[in-house]
Point group: C2
Chain length 389, copies 2
């Protein structure tokens, strides 16, 4: 781990060589006090941009990523980016969010592990990873972190702030915290405050990570590669993965099929695998290879703490601060952020009297539909941007 | 652990004194081959009865319990029974399942830990708990196990077989496997075959138990009391507990409230507790005190393997073997066994041309409603029993 108080390369991530990530970073020595009261120093912000900022910096759009996303919202796979951008079909020249017209920015969230300061980053005091020393964060902390980047980029006002799931939480906090710096918003499959059921799923995942003896109370970075809390993180991810999809989608895709291996022999073994099991293992293992367990904990907790009403009286008074055109998108099969939450949100947003639209996507794929049906999400966004542009 | 090849007391359960359970047991030396091919010897069946068997043994009703249930379907709490019967409001003199008229029987399932042979029972070879030596079971094995008890009791035909959740799986298997010995059926909040999503939840719970280092590959019985896989079992139970309830019920009951402890101080701690979290911990810890982790694994796997069509061609041909009056009950807010599964089941049952009724309970409580709204479940059952009686 480099003993550099101002690292400008990506934070540690399982399997990564330091510095292999391709994005801009920006570090500041101004202390950064988070909502819990802790103070972070030398905070790094990793971000990517697409398109050109125009002369009056009036064409900038901020895209906010979800739980295990990162700044690579668009662009190809390649060194430092094992996969194409998570919204590559939506963002680019001539695409729904057209980078011939818009300057698009996406930052890795504070607490993440893809370049921005997170639990795996070196602590400025000793250059060793924060680990258990990393504070609990809130969505508001993530947004304030992004505002530093905004100032750094010389942007006064986002034309729009867009995001799904946890990205949508950031969208709301942006518009409420900095109303003068946001021109319009598009929250997707998100909520104004996490529900008890959403919190319950989060809690279970965190307990699974904590149960893994390799988590070591959060200080596992000195362990040999591969000796981190992989199984705990995989289980936590599997809980999330089921809630990201839907009963119908699982039935259509997997039914009750056994894997080839199970069909060959041990049909009645306790660990014999159904196809859906292999799918869950695949997704769990895939995340383990690209994501840090402590980041998963910290970001998940931030989502559970998400409540736009905190210290603002009520949902109504908090949402009442938003006075910009808005497009809310829900997904009819979403069991994690059910459409009723999007409708509640849109109802409060429509009180502004400003253009306010609610669209419900018809998809069998559940919450993840906004990362699958690019056209169903992208087209209304393109139309909305054209109207507010 | 007593070195008795034919134990007639309850199997080991956390915190139990051997022999403290109050129920009848019945052991047989006839080997019992399970569907996986393994053979169990000296199999014990623990059961309870209420009411009197009439002279021609024509008034017997079998009630089948769910995952972590046991034979104590009715009756008070007391020594050996820490809680009242799980359907005590439904079963008893003058109650919906009236024991002045019916002779009601409930057996602990094979693989369980409340008296019937399960992973914590002594292996006949060495008197030591089966542990990892216990075979994978199916719902059909449970039903064949119960049939031994039926023969032992001198009952030729159940007037009705009734059960919810996993109990409903047994109901279907009873009627399909032994059509001549079942007079009518009442499956509640159950399914004909476990869906991919149901399997997914099961898999996640099993992996959590396996992750617990105290599980010790299933051979933890020699460990000190309290040194079993309590945390893994608690997490597995928490996954189930969320699916047993509903989003609305959680929101109404817990919202985003923090526990008193969390409100006092550490609002932003990573392990700070929301009320829903305390509820989950409570239910996880409660199960740990009364249930054996290996039984949880084996019974959960049996549910995932549940498929009435296995080796019977198709759902239609399997269900077509059922030629008795039937009442199917679904719950409108059930996210684990959604009402569409009950409607599918009832549709296939109605093809018999015999009296076939589907009732959908209106409750916000999700899957567990059949253990909460005793009148909503009990009244249609009473009416059904009167009609078929």
């Amino acid at each position: 781990m480099p003993n550099d108080p101002l690292p400008v390369t990506g934070a540690w991530c399982p399997g990564d060589e330091p510095g292999c990530r391709r994005f801009h970073t920006f570090a500041t020595e101004h202390p950064f006090a988070v909502e819990s009261g802790a103070v972070l120093r030398d905070v790094v912000i990793a971000y990517e941009t697409w398109g050109e900022l125009n002369s009056d910096a009036s064409n900038a759009i901020l895209v906010c990523h979800a739980w295990t996303g990162d700044s690579h919202a668009a662009g190809r796979a390649g060194p430092g980016h094992p996969t194409p951008g998570w919204w590559d079909d939506c963002i680019g020249p001539g695409k729904h969010i057209d980078t011939n017209r818009w300057f698009v920015v996406c930052a890795n969230v504070l607490g993440g592990c893809q370049g921005s300061t997170g639990p795996a980053s070196p602590h400025p005091d000793d250059g060793l990873p924060y680990g258990s020393r990393f504070p609990v964060l809130t969505i508001r902390d993530m947004v304030r972190h992004q505002r530093r980047m905004m100032n750094h980029l010389g942007i006064e006002r986002w034309r729009s702030v867009i995001g799904g799931s946890m990205g949508g939480m950031q969208v709301l906090e942006w518009a409420i915290t900095y109303p003068e710096r946001v021109g319009s918003i598009v929250p997707i499959a998100s909520c104004m405050q996490s529900s008890a059921q959403q919190i319950a799923w989060g809690v279970i995942g965190r307990r699974a990570i904590r149960l893994d003896p390799r988590w070591r109370g959060g200080d596992y970075y000195g362990a040999d590669p591969g000796d981190g809390p992989a199984e705990g993180l995989a289980i936590a991810r599997q809980v999330a993965q089921v809630t990201f999809r839907s009963d119908n989608a699982f039935t259509d895709r997997f039914g009750r099929e056994l894997t080839d291996r199970a069909q060959m022999g041990d049909t009645f073994g306790l660990w014999q695998e159904f196809e859906v099991e292999r799918y869950l293992h695949y997704h769990g293992d895939k995340l383990v290879r690209r994501f840090d367990a402590n980041s998963y904990l910290v970001i998940g907790k931030a989502m559970d703490l998400h409540d736009v009403a905190r210290s603002r009286g009520s949902l109504e008074s908090a949402m009442g601060r938003i006075r910009v055109p808005n497009l809310t998108i829900g997904i009819n099969s979403d069991i994690l952020y059910p459409p009723y939450q999007q409708r509640q949100m849109s109802r409060l947003l429509s009180r502004t009297g400003l253009p306010s639209t609610y669209i419900e996507i018809d998809s069998p794929h559940g919450h993840d539909a906004f990362l699958i049906h690019f056209d169903l999400v992208g087209e209304p966004i393109a139309k909305f941007l054209a109207a507010v542009g």
